[in-house]
């Protein structure tokens, strides 16, 4: 990616609301045709960043460059973007056709051309026969598609999506994810989507920007972010993670709940006896063919078995210290084959290449213990 020039450059962007710093020195590059997701908990500044890029709430300090043009202080009218809001902001008194054509009419496009473009757009989102309806007569998913068509009608260089799916039912949401992604891919329009839904970000984005409290925690592909989170916050925010407090031992050794573990992912700069946090995802916990003599084996008692449809999530109490709980995913087969029951003893292993170690103590919000 570093070979070509970025289409959108955000440099040292800071946004203050009075004394409150909503964005702190954000820098970011987006490449042509990329699908970027800003992901983070509410209040992390992701929407503020999007609105700064759109010029709707211009930043206090910093530069924004789009297509080689410095747009830092320009009003939205003089920028080149299309936007879809969470509420869609469809004009309720205009028909679907009028909504989609809204930006075209003011560009002195001829009427047949407008009609052609509108028809083309509505066809690409499968709403051809809905042209004359008003927004209130459409379903949420249909309204969403109209909003998307309206934003794309003027062929903007940048498409901004502000939580576009969060007002929809779960099933519609999943379907629209694919539709939007496919349409974006087909048109090749550079897209930034704001979301707090990690699943949405993981399935749709080329790269994800994880944000928290006004700063960027990590930028990377979905696989990167999921399997190699750079800090406990990202590890915690994306997917489910076990956080185990421990201390560093000899190189590649950590001690967690009185058990010595070997790891291949120990970060630099950690001294022996430093307090650390060891992380492992429930699905990475080894469950089959583990004996107490296996590497990184942990003896546990099955405390609860929560049935989640396609698998069980087990809460395991570590026997050595009797306090620590580890969540692990048990497949349906495993539970059936081994006839696992609550209260039963069970040995697991924490595979050394799946363990991540962070040189900081992380207090997990909804700790099981």
């Amino acid at each position: 990616m570093t070979g070509k020039d970025a289409y959108l450059k955000v440099e040292n962007l800071t946004k203050m609301f009075g004394d409150f710093t909503a964005l702190k020195d954000i820098s970011l590059e987006v490449f042509e045709g990329e699908f970027i997701c800003f992901l983070g908990p509410s209040g992390c500044g992701k929407t503020t960043l999007l609105r700064a890029i759109a010029g709707l709430d211009i930043q206090t300090h910093g530069r924004v460059e789009q297509g080689g043009r410095d747009i830092s202080g320009l009003p939205p009218l003089e920028r080149d973007f299309g936007i879809v809001f969470q509420s869609y902001a469809l004009f309720p008194n205009l028909t679907v056709h009028q909504n989609v054509a809204y930006g075209l009419v003011s560009r002195k496009t001829s009427k047949p051309e407008i009609d052609k473009r509108v028809a083309e757009l509505l066809e690409s989102v499968g709403l051809v026969d809905q042209e004359d309806k008003y927004p209130a007569q459409l379903s949420g998913g249909q309204q969403q598609r109209v909003a998307l068509s309206r934003a794309l009608a003027t062929k903007p260089g940048l498409l901004l999506l502000d939580e576009p799916l969060s007002a929809l039912d779960a099933k519609v949401r999943v379907r629209l994810r694919h539709e939007i992604k496919a349409l974006q891919h087909q048109l090749g329009v550079t897209t930034i989507m704001v979301t707090h839904d990690q699943e949405e970000a993981l399935t749709m984005a080329d790269r994800i920007v994880v944000m928290n409290e006004g700063v960027i925690e990590q930028i990377g592909t979905p696989q990167d972010i999921y399997s190699r989170p750079v800090n406990p916050f990202v590890a915690d925010f994306i997917g489910t993670m076990n956080f185990l407090a421990g201390v560093a031992g000899d190189p590649a050794q950590v001690c967690v709940c009185d058990i010595e573990l070997t790891t291949s992912n120990s970060p630099d700069g950690i001294q022996k006896d430093d307090a650390i946090t060891v992380c492992i995802r429930p699905e990475d916990v080894a469950t089959r063919g583990v004996t107490p003599d296996s590497d990184n084996a942990v003896l546990t008692v099955v405390e609860t078995l929560e049935f989640l449809g396609s698998f069980y999530r087990a809460t395991l109490r570590v026997q050595d210290d009797g306090k620590t709980a580890i969540r692990a995913d048990f497949s349906i087969n495993l539970v059936r084959d081994l006839d696992i029951k609550e209260g039963q003893e069970f040995t697991i292993a924490l595979p050394m290449d799946q363990i991540r170690v962070y040189g900081e103590i992380f207090a997990h919000a909804d700790d099981l213990i």
């Binding site: 040292n12 800071t14 203050m16 004394d19 409150f20 710093t21 702190k24 020195d25 759109a54 010029g55 709707l56 211009i58 930043q59 206090t60 300090h61 910093g62 830092s72 202080g73 320009l74 009003p75 939205p76 009218l77 003089e78 920028r79 973007f81 299309g82 936007i83 809001f85 509420s87 902001a89 004009f91 309720p92 008194n93 205009l94 809204y102 930006g103 009419v105 003011s106 560009r107 008003y134 927004p135 209130a136 007569q137 309206r150 934003a151 009608a153 003027t154 903007p156 901004l160 700063v215």
Partner: protein, 567 residues
């Protein structure tokens, strides 16, 4: 929090102000300028006049000392407070029961009773007072009910004021009552509380802000009302009539200014209290509340029907007597029908011209006022940036609410009639009456517009900017059509009030621009009560017709432009 950019002092981004922004600011500035000229400067002229003698020399508090040491004048303060307190207690109690009947019982004809209760809004406050004289005056057919007391004086004023402010108070209490949450009643019942306990623990606390707010509004309306005491006050002086007497009778403008400043005090207190209460009221009702639905109870419903019927008969009777008296030869001696009293050319007050002036003035007020107020509200609510300008505007639009009509009218004399004022040419013209009336009723109209605008998605402007469509096109194509119902409400409110108002315009008309409501006053003054009643009836009919037209338009337009509301 320390910004992470501490290493170098970064330059603050300069926002480029687009031509759109300039248009927005220009229009907002123009409306702010209008309010400056129409309310701030006149008010300043009024206040400074209170501290001057006749020759314009600054005299400090001398005028106020004179006011409070002249027994005849300071007595008015006591009279005003007494009258207003008594009337407020009575009207809030009556309106409370009436509202309770309309919202919490299953009685029949609710819409009819609601409609009847709103009739007094269509009248200048002079009219119920004139009717009271027909009923309870020396030749009245109900005078025996007063047991030898006179209608002229406190009794008449209280009766007149109660009728005049009844609809205003009723509406506030009804809104408060309709906002109660049914789940609280269910909870109360399921915990074994009886109806009495439920009333005191759920009903009353739920509407206490509404009740207090209604009390304040009633008190202010009454203490600043001039029509009722003018007609039926007799020798009983109150502040509002004092302003009129000082200015019109004695030409003592300085003392008029002092009295109208005293009148400002309760109005400002009531205004401040109402603002605070409204903020609290909002928090009570959550989005998930379930509206209360009353269950039938034959006895309770019958009592409520009887009560509403009684109040309804009084209100209809007030209007009916005025109508009847205006149509008979000589009340109460010769009851043969005639239209002679409608031949206003023979009377004081400007004849039919005054009626035509009123309709003209009310129409201009409705049209111009609605355009200005709605546009102003839109810019305050939806424009971005320019925070100082918008904050100033928000302050300016609330000011008219705190200024009683009499004070406003007097302020206009001082400001516009000043020989050095370049706007002096407006004095004694129809435009100044329009300006004054728009300003007088600005705040409520503005708040109506804001309420409607708040329901519109805030991102419309952002979307249209992203589509390179200037905001004014979106305003015209989207915002205005969506707000048609609110726009009609505002214009109707302005029209009806412009038809009925007396207080502000009584100082501002000239022989060429006499108004119907003022004609009522002058004909009553001249002893032509039947003609005064006739003109009053004309006002009621016109205002009523406007309301009817409003209802038809709202329904018709709703069908055409609001088709999108239907699923």
């Amino acid at each position: 929090m320390v910004p992470a950019v501490a290493h170098a002092a970064p330059a603050v981004v300069r926002h480029k102000v687009s031509s759109e922004d300039w248009i927005m600011r220009g229009v907002l500035g123009a409306i702010a300028l209008y309010l400056l000229v129409a309310i701030v400067l006149p008010l300043y002229a009024l206040l400074s006049k209170g501290f001057q003698d006749r020759d314009g020399n600054f005299t400090g508090l001398d005028n106020f000392t004179e006011f409070f040491t002249t027994p005849a004048l300071s007595q008015s303060v006591a009279n005003s407070l007494t009258i207003s307190s008594i009337s407020t207690v009575i009207v809030v109690s009556l309106a409370f029961v009436y509202a309770y009947a309309l919202t919490r019982s299953c009685m029949a004809f609710k819409n009819l009773f609601k409609g009847i209760a709103l009739i007094p809004i269509l009248m200048p406050s002079l009219l119920p007072a004139i009717s009271l004289i027909f009923m309870f005056g020396k030749q009245g057919f109900l005078t025996f009910l007063l047991f030898g007391n006179e209608i002229y004086g406190p009794i008449g004023i209280v009766m007149g004021e109660v009728i005049y402010v009844f609809p205003h108070v009723l509406m506030i209490i009804m809104i408060a009552m309709s906002m109660s949450d049914a789940r609280l009643y269910e909870a109360s019942q399921s915990l074994g509380a009886g109806p009495v306990r439920t009333f005191f623990t759920v009903t009353l606390p739920g509407i206490r802000y509404g009740l207090v707010s209604a009390g304040f509004v009633a008190f202010t309306l009454i203490i600043t009302d001039f029509g009722v005491p003018k007609v039926v006050g007799g020798q009983y002086n109150v502040l509002a009539t004092d302003v009129y007497k000082q200015v019109v009778g004695r030409q003592d403008f300085e003392m008029g200014a002092v009295v109208s400043m005293v009148l400002l005090v309760p109005a400002i207190i009531a205004f401040a209290a109402d603002r605070i209460l409204q903020r609290k009221q909002v928090a009570i009702l959550t989005a998930r509340a379930v509206p209360y639905a009353p269950t039938p109870s034959p006895r309770f419903d019958a009592i409520m029907t009887a009560f509403c019927a009684l109040v309804g008969i009084v209100i209809v009777g007030i209007l009916g007597v005025a109508m009847f008296a205006s149509l008979v030869k000589f009340w109460p001696y010769n009851l043969s029908l005639t239209l002679a009293h409608y031949d206003f050319s023979l009377r004081d007050g400007g004849g039919w011209d005054s009626y035509i002036n009123s309709v003209k003035m009310a129409s201009w007020t409705a049209v111009i006022g609605t355009c200005v107020i709605f546009t102003g509200a839109y810019l305050v609510e939806k424009s971005k940036g320019f925070l100082a300008g918008r904050a100033a505007m928000q302050f300016l639009v609330m000011m008219p609410m705190a200024v009683p009509g009499l004070s406003l009218g007097l302020a206009y004399i001082f400001f516009f009639n000043h020989p050095d004022n370049p706007l002096n040419f407006l004095y004694h013209t129809l435009p100044i009456l329009v300006i004054c009336t728009i300003t007088h009723f600005y705040t409520v109209s503005h708040l109506t517009a804001i309420t409607a605008l708040k329901q519109i998605d805030n991102e419309f402007e952002s979307v249209s900017a992203s589509l390179k469509v200037p905001f004014y096109k979106t305003f015209w194509r989207v915002t205005v059509p969506i707000c048609v119902p609110a726009i009609l409400d505002i214009s109707m409110y302005l029209f009806v009030n412009a038809m009925t108002t007396v207080s502000a315009v009584v100082f501002l008309y000239s022989p060429d621009t006499a108004l119907a409501s003022v004609a009522v006053l002058n004909m009553d003054d001249a002893g032509e009560q039947a003609s005064a009643a006739a003109m009053g009836v004309m006002i009621v009919l016109t205002a009523g017709a406007a309301r009817l037209l409003h209802a038809v338009l709202t329904r018709g337009l709703a069908r055409r432009t609001q088709a999108w509301r239907k699923r």
